[in-house]
Amino acid sequence: MIVLNKDAMQIVREQDVVLFRNRVREYSTKIGMSLVNQTKLITAASELVRNMLKYANGGKVLIEVISKNAQNGVRLTFTDEGPGIADIQQAMKDGFSTGKSLGLGLPGAKRLVNEFEIQSKPGEGTRVTITHWKNGR
């Protein structure tokens, strides 16, 4: 796998969510991703960035354009230094939320993208990586 392009963004305010979404749209348009796949990726990204703001008061996002087996994709890495997730299995279940939300964020985001990876240590933070390929497969 090759990284073709890299861009980092700090997320600290609500308004950053809109800027970040636009940035992701820019990169996915650039590699020719279809509208449906763009929408899936950006919606997943929106869920994750919202989690980061809500539970960890913000964090960093790395946007990368990557290439594997002659196919391009966008990879997003969300890193925060928040309270972490004690039970990832539980957090990945539909309808589970420690906040007052619908509990769709993490499991929903996972369903929307091709690759999803989550690592978390209580007290240290959480890192989520999602990848979506140009053709959505």
Partner: protein
């Protein structure tokens, strides 16, 4: 502060969302709409999201909230103009917008609202007529 305009059209309120909503803007829309329903006695709320390219679970919850709150205030809510890509994404996300009426465009939404309200009014008339029958 930025605000989303709410237009009054007869017994309905019309909202066209033209910008990407961030959280505070969405919450203030929810608040403004419910206050407006109470102030104007509107019977229906029409929300046009044809210019919205991303609906995530937060935004979906706001739409659901608006619908439930309006219903308690005796108004029906119809969400119109959803982009196909948004619909595909919402269902995969697991958000089916239960309890929210939807229509393809503003025109169809308007007809749906009129039907809903017309139906209600007919029922009310029926109820009013019943006691008359008994006295005869």
């Amino acid at each position: 502060m930025e605000r989303i305009p709410i237009l009054k059209m007869g017994p309905f309120l019309l909202v066209t969302i033209q910008v990407d909503l961030y959280d505070r803007l969405a919450l203030s829309l929810e608040n403004d709409l419910i206050n407006m329903v109470s102030r104007t006695g509107a019977r229906g709320v029409l929300i046009d999201i044809s210019a919205v390219s991303i609906v995530d679970s937060f935004m979906g919850r706001i739409l659901g909230n608006i619908a439930s709150m309006s219903r308690i205030m005796d108004a029906e809510t119809v969400v119109v103009g959803m982009q196909p890509a948004v619909a595909i994404t919402l269902v995969e996300l697991g958000l089916t917008l239960q309890g929210v009426y939807t229509a393809l465009d503003v025109e169809k939404g308007m007809v749906l609202l009129q039907d809903k309200i017309g139906f209600d009014q007919l029922q009310e008339q029926d109820e009013e007529e019943e006691p008359d029958d008994r006295t005869e």
